[in-house]
Amino acid sequence: MTSFTTKSVQHAVRRIWVLALGYCLSVILVVAANQSSAADDPPTITLRIKDHLFVPAELTVPANTRFRLLIINEDNTAEEFESAALNREKVIMGNSEGVIFLGPLSPGEYSFFGEFNPRTAQGRLIVNGPQS
C-alpha cells in the first residue's frame, strides 16, 4: 500500500496541474487545427421565435454540411432552444439572438422545441441528401 505523505500529495497536485495543462493544450491545438481548416465561414440558416412559436417550424438543410443556426427571438420573453436529437441547448433572451453550430448531419428528421413552451414551440430540422 502506498503511504500518503505531504510530499506525495504535493507530487500528485503537480501531476494534476500537468494533466490540466495537457488537457487545455490539446483542446487549443485541436481548436487551432479546426479553425484553420474551416477558414471559410459555414453558411448561416435563420430561425425566428415569434409569439412563442418557431418560424419556420420546418427547416431543410443539405446532408453532411456544417452550418450555423442563427436563432432570433422577436418576443419580449426569453426562450430556450433545445433538441435532444441534435444535442443542443441555448437560452435566447427576449429581443436578442444566438448562434449554434450544427452538422455535418446524416439525412433524417431532427426535432427541436422551446423549453419554456414545450407543447406549442416545436419544430423540425429536415436533412436531405445522400448517405455519406
Binding site: 444535442n87 437560452v91 419554456f116
Partner: protein
C-alpha cells in the same frame, strides 16, 4: 403549471445532486457547515449576474459567450470535484497522525467545496431566474409559473435531502466511498457536458455522433433527466464527449481506489 414544475425540477436536481453529495461527504469527514453560507451567497450572486447579463454575454466572442461561460463553470465544477477526491486520502492520513476525533479539514478543502458547489449552482439557478422572471412574469403567467417553480424546487430540495440522509445512513466509511463514486461520475458528466458546449459553439468539430439511444431512454424523460444529472447521460454523444468522459471517469476511479486503499490500511478510518 406542470411544465413549470418539470423545468424547475430538472434544474434543481442537477445542482442539488452535487451539493448534497458534497455535503454528505464532507460531513462524514467532519467538516463544519460554515461553508454553506459563502456557497449560497456566491451561487445566488453569480446566478443573478449571469441571468441579468445573459444577452450581452451571449453576444461576446462572435455569439459564443454563453457557451464559453458554461464551459468555464462546468470545468470549474468538474476539476474541483476531482481535486476534492484527490485530497480525501490525505485528510484521512491527517486524522490518524494527529489522533483527533475527526479529520482536520484544511482551508484548501473548504475552498474546493465552495468552488465546486457554487459553480454547479450558478448556471442552474440562473436558468430558473430567467424562466421565472424573463419568461413567466414577463409573459403575464406569473401565477402558474411561480407556483410551479415553488413546487418543482420543493420536490428537488426534498430529493436532495433524501440523498443526503441516504448517504449518511450508510455509515461514515461507506458514505465516504459511495459519495466519492458519485462525485467521480458527476465530474465526468460535467466535463463531458463542457465538451458538448465546445462543439455547440464550433470550437470542436463534432463530426462523429456515436449513437442515438433516444429511443431507449429519452433525455427529456424523468429517467433520462436523472441519468443526465448523475452520469451526464446524453442520447447522442459525440466522440469528443465520450473521450473526455472516459478519461475523467478513469481518473476518478483511480482516486477512489486510492481512497479505499487508504481506508483499508487505516484500522479506524472513519469506521462507524
Amino acid at each position: 403549471m406542470i411544465d413549470a414544475v418539470v423545468i424547475v425540477l430538472r434544474e434543481v436536481l442537477e445542482a442539488m445532486l452535487v451539493c448534497c453529495v458534497l455535503l454528505a461527504s464532507s460531513y462524514a469527514l467532519g467538516a463544519k457547515r460554515t461553508w454553506l453560507l459563502p456557497v449560497t451567497l456566491a451561487a445566488v450572486g453569480g446566478a443573478l449576474l449571469y441571468a441579468t447579463n445573459l444577452a450581452t454575454l451571449t453576444a461576446l466572442f462572435d455569439g459564443r459567450g454563453q457557451e464559453l461561460t458554461n464551459v468555464l463553470l462546468l470545468v470549474l465544477t468538474g476539476a474541483s470535484l476531482l481535486f476534492y477526491l484527490l485530497q480525501l486520502p490525505a485528510m484521512l492520513h491527517n486524522k490518524r497522525t494527529l489522533g483527533k476525533k475527526e479529520a482536520p479539514v484544511t482551508s484548501t478543502l473548504y475552498a474546493v467545496l465552495i468552488i465546486a458547489s457554487a459553480a454547479a449552482m450558478v448556471r442552474e439557478l440562473a436558468e430558473i431566474f430567467i424562466y421565472v422572471f424573463s419568461y413567466g412574469i414577463a409573459s403575464g403567467q406569473a401565477v402558474p409559473v411561480v407556483s410551479g417553480a415553488v413546487i418543482g424546487a420543493g420536490v428537488g430540495v426534498s430529493l436532495g435531502i433524501f440523498i443526503f440522509f441516504g448517504l449518511l445512513w450508510l455509515g461514515k466509511r461507506r458514505c465516504l466511498q459511495m459519495s466519492a463514486l458519485l462525485l467521480g461520475l458527476i465530474s465526468a458528466g460535467m466535463l463531458s457536458q463542457a465538451t458538448r458546449f465546445l462543439v455547440q459553439s464550433g470550437f470542436l468539430p463534432g463530426e462523429h455522433i456515436l449513437w442515438d439511444s433516444g429511443w431507449l431512454i429519452s433525455e427529456s424523460s424523468l429517467p433520462g433527466e436523472l441519468l443526465h444529472a448523475l452520469l451526464g447521460y446524453d442520447a447522442t454523444p459525440g466522440i469528443e464527449q465520450l473521450t473526455v468522459y472516459v478519461v475523467s471517469l478513469a481518473f476518478a476511479m483511480l482516486l477512489l481506489r486510492k481512497l479505499m486503499a487508504r481506508q483499508g490500511t487505516d484500522g479506524d478510518a472513519l469506521r462507524q
